[in-house]
Amino acid sequence: MKKVVIKRNRYVDSVSLMAVGDKVTKLPGITNAEAQMCTPANLEVLVDDLGYELPEVSANDLALAVTGDTEEHIEAALQMITDIIDHKNASGSAQYNAIEEIDLREDGYDLAQISLPGEYAAAEAMKALKMGLDVFIFSDNVSLEEEAELKQFGAKHGRLVMGPDCGVGLISGVALGAGSIVKDGPVGIVGASGSGCQEVACIVERRGLGVSSIIGTGGHDLLPEIGGLTMIAGMRRLEDDPKTKVIVLVSKLANLEVMGKILDIADKLSKPVVAIFLGGDEKLFEGHSVHGAFSLEEAALKAVELCTGKKPDAGYTDAQIADLVKSKVSALKPEQKYVRGLFSGGTFTEEGMIYYTQHNKGVKLNSNLKTKYAEQLSDHGTSIGHCILDLGAEDFTAEAPHPVFDPSLKLKRFKKEVADPTCAVITMDFIMGPGVAADPVTPFAKACKELKDAGSNLIFISNVCGSLEDPQDTLKAEKMLRDAGVIVTKSNYESTKIASAFLAALEERG
């Protein structure tokens, strides 16, 4: 059975046409397939050699000719030829220029992750919400009015609005933003601090449990203008989520009224709730059944205890820390007097400063951040005395990419601190996850190793905030640091505790 289709005045170059025969004759029942421009030479082949019957044609016409066993097979072959010469790309997924081009009935999605410049983020987020999606807004510089509008819309329509200014999330096992991929488990986290949430999640995972969700609220959620709308919505989601057994709330100290409202709602949930408002005290939790915690580690360990009924063991004991300090400090030169902190975010920076303020009474701290705990540096480029830096703050990120995504800024500052003869201790964090720098640890481990081999007596303390599933291989990174002589801890809190002991010893030595 033979069939010929003529495409009038259709030019296709012969090289493209040569690709046709081979592909099409592999189809079932097809013995010959030709696509030829109707030049005299080609007509000779088609008509005289292959026996096709052609109508009146000109050299500008294209002939598609197929020989096969059934009508059906021939039609399929002709379709394939048409697709080949029309250059239809079978692979390649759909490209969208705007979210509203996606038809959710045909192509289902659940969540929009938005990291546009702040001025555009709210409009896109609102489109996504109206389409019925949850949103995760990494972008900062979204106005409070816009944030309130988005969150009120979300509250009204049962949609989750994570952010703006939301660094970390974990939904259905998917790490969002700069978050870690944490093993599934019974602890659900809602938090206004990205690294705080991630720290709690990673500590929980290290104690053998897992995390059902991390719902980030963004840094402004507990402001009176927003009223904790996402924290409340997040708690309710976790209350309804059968996998979640314990809920952890994470925030820096925030508006008293909003925190009170959050705790009132948390009290009424059927599931146990642990809450940390970093920088807050016991008074916050008076009259509430919520379990108060005062460090990220404590919050994580309380959650583990509530799930398992067993108190998990802590890391370094006080005696171990005392020994460590004693052995290391004695090796320092007299001019080495100060502790320096290099952090990739505000939460870890503040957690440290709060601890030193409470445990190293009267110590004078310096920082690029404006807080009640430390004197603000006049020049963020040069450390003075004990100096705790948030390298993710705007004064640094205005000059270089955020250290979570590109460690070069942190490495440069690290080298500057190392070269400072008054520096005795450097404490640092490392953040892992699929959405951050591919290898944040190696350059530092290498630098520390070189210093150690050269006989340096500098003291390095570090913890890796990363899960066991993260692509960077957290355990290997920790080993690399340990081999380089770094004191590797299990949490920022533990690093802080050790740094605080060194700080005390240095102050005492004078």
Binding site: R8, N9, R10, Y11, V12, D13, S16, S58, N60, I85, D86, H87, S93, A94, Q95, Y96, N97, A98, I99, I102, D107, G108, Y109, D110, L111, A112, Q113, I114, S115, L116, Y120, A121, A123, E124, A128, L133, F138, S139, I171, S172, G173, V174, A175, L176, G177, I181, F405, G433, P434, G435, P471
Partner: protein, 481 residues
């Protein structure tokens, strides 16, 4: 089709940094990256006009009409069929009528090149014996002045056309529509028709073209049964032409087709032509740079003629400048309804460093009819050679065509391009898409100074203002219909 197995139920749309999309991909999550662009800044009026014609019901009608209009180009079968006096084939081109390029303009408002063209035309047709007489005649209002793109012709350069000018005739055999296009004037590139110049020498060459060369070419075309234009264009897109600024390949292919016929004529004792006449014709063809340009424009114009008047279509059918104003026309709006803005200057390279932007005449000429038909600037990817004139690299050229895809209705399956991995060139500029995306059509062209000298080559974008005016008119006509 079975869905791929993803590691999570969560399906994510990523809007923003590619880095986070890659992180989702690496996690084995179903994700899509939105190719997001900052929103286009539009006036409230334009926004309202766009919204008014974007209702689903109206949009369906517009889409259907645009398919119809764009298929006037895609399905066109242009043939070079004959050479005839302009007065025989251009509607309304009678005595005391002069055609010029660009949107309609009064004599007083014309740039010097057009004014000089008006004078040259009167002298050429013998309506005036001196320049002074000609100026007086034009100013008296006795001469009718019309815009080329309001007729079935194209006014490249100044586009000065009167009834006696010999024109190449392009017939769209899919529709029977005829366009008439003046041929390049041999050594006098930018002579009478192009730049409005008039001299004894130019007049004599025009006479020779008409009396000596064209009878020969007509005989050849008749014998060939016309020459198909589209296969030549198609092949040239694979050989580095974009068919506005560059015709190197089309000229060669055209020569390859026509020269054997000329030689046969030369060998034929009874051809009725002298050997000298045939050889002079041959010289005229091969020594005229960018000979094929007028044929490409004619093919574009004859296709556009069938798109004109397609009700509900938002496809652009004309793009041109007159050195003062720049204008577009739209298929679904009035045949002679122009949407204008000040004519743009080109960015590009000058033939000599002595020239600067100050020397440049704002856009003049109708040759952007090729962009209307999906060539020239829209085909930048086909011609990295042309783009390199402006210091662009291949990737920039590809980027331009990819960008043009966003404002076009469809692709032309006749024009696959190697640099696009044989994807087809976009075709059919849609005013609605231009407004939506904020992307204006890229147009190629030559740069001229105020005296009509060629001083460079480059490109420009059609001013957004043209589209803003057009969308308002489009909404006015169709929104409440």
């Amino acid at each position: 089709m079975a869905e791929k197995n993803y590691k999570s139920d969560l399906r994510v749309i990523n809007i923003g940094t590619q880095f986070f999309y890659d992180a989702l991909e690496a996690q084995g999550v179903k994700a899509t990256q939105i190719n997001w662009r900052p929103p286009v800044k539009q006036s409230e009026e334009v926004k309202a006009a766009l919204a008014a014609v974007s209702t689903p019901e109206l949009k369906a009608k517009i889409d259907a009409a645009n398919q119809k209009a764009v298929h006037c180009v895609i399905d066109s079968q242009p043939f070079l069929v004959d050479i005839l006096p302009a007065g025989d084939v251009i509607e309304g081109l009678d005595d005391y009528t002069i055609i010029h390029s660009g949107p309609p303009i009064k004599y007083e408002d014309m740039v010097m090149l057009h004014q000089r063209g008006m004078v040259s035309a009167c002298r050429f047709e013998g309506w005036a014996k001196t320049d002074e007489e000609a100026v007086e005649l034009v100013k008296s209002g006795k001469v009718k002045i019309i815009s080329a793109l309001d007729t079935n012709t194209v006014g490249a350069g100044t586009g000065i056309i009167t009834k006696s000018v010999a024109m190449f005739i392009i017939e769209d055999r899919a529709t029977g529509k005829i366009s008439a296009n003046f041929p390049a004037e041999g050594p006098n590139q930018g002579g009478f028709c192009g730049w409005g110049l008039y001299s004894e020498e130019i007049a004599d060459y025009l006479r020779r073209m008409r009396e000596e060369f064209f009878p020969v070419m007509r005989a050849v075309l008749k014998k060939m049964g016309g020459m198909a234009v589209k296969p030549i264009l198609a092949e040239s897109f694979q050989m580095g032409d974009e068919n506005h600024t560059r015709q190197t390949a089309t000229d060669l292919i055209f020569d390859k087709k026509i020269l054997p016929e000329l030689f046969k004529l030369l060998a034929d004792e009874n051809s009725g032509f002298t050997k000298e006449q045939i050889m002079d014709t041959l010289d005229y063809i091969v020594e005229t740079p960018r000979f094929f340009h007028c044929i490409g424009q004619g093919a574009s114009r004859s296709a556009m003629l069938s798109a004109v008047g397609t009700e509900y279509s938002s496809m652009v059918t004309a793009i041109c400048g007159n050195g003062v104003e720049f204008g577009i026309k739209v298929a679904g709006l009035g045949d002679n309804e122009w949407f204008t803005a000040p004519a743009p200057l080109m960015k590009g390279r000058y033939t000599s460093s002595k020239f600067t932007e100050k020397d440049q005449l704002p856009w003049i000429g109708d040759s952007c009819v090729v962009e209307c038909a999906g060539m020239g600037g829209l085909a930048a990817a086909a011609s990295p050679i042309v783009c390199s004139l402006r210091g662009l690299k291949l990737k920039d050229a590809i980027h331009i065509t990819r960008e043009m895809e966003e404002i076009c209705i469809d692709h032309n399956p006749a024009f696959p391009v190697p640099n696009l991995d044989f994807d087809f060139l976009p075709v059919g500029i849609d005013i609605m898409k231009v407004i939506e995306t904020g992307i204006c059509p890229e147009i190629h062209g030559g740069m001229f100074n105020y005296q009509g000298g060629l001083i460079g080559a480059g490109s420009a974008r059609v001013p957004m203002q043209c589209f803003e005016k057009a969308i308002k008119a489009f909404a006015k006509k169709y929104a409440n219909k």
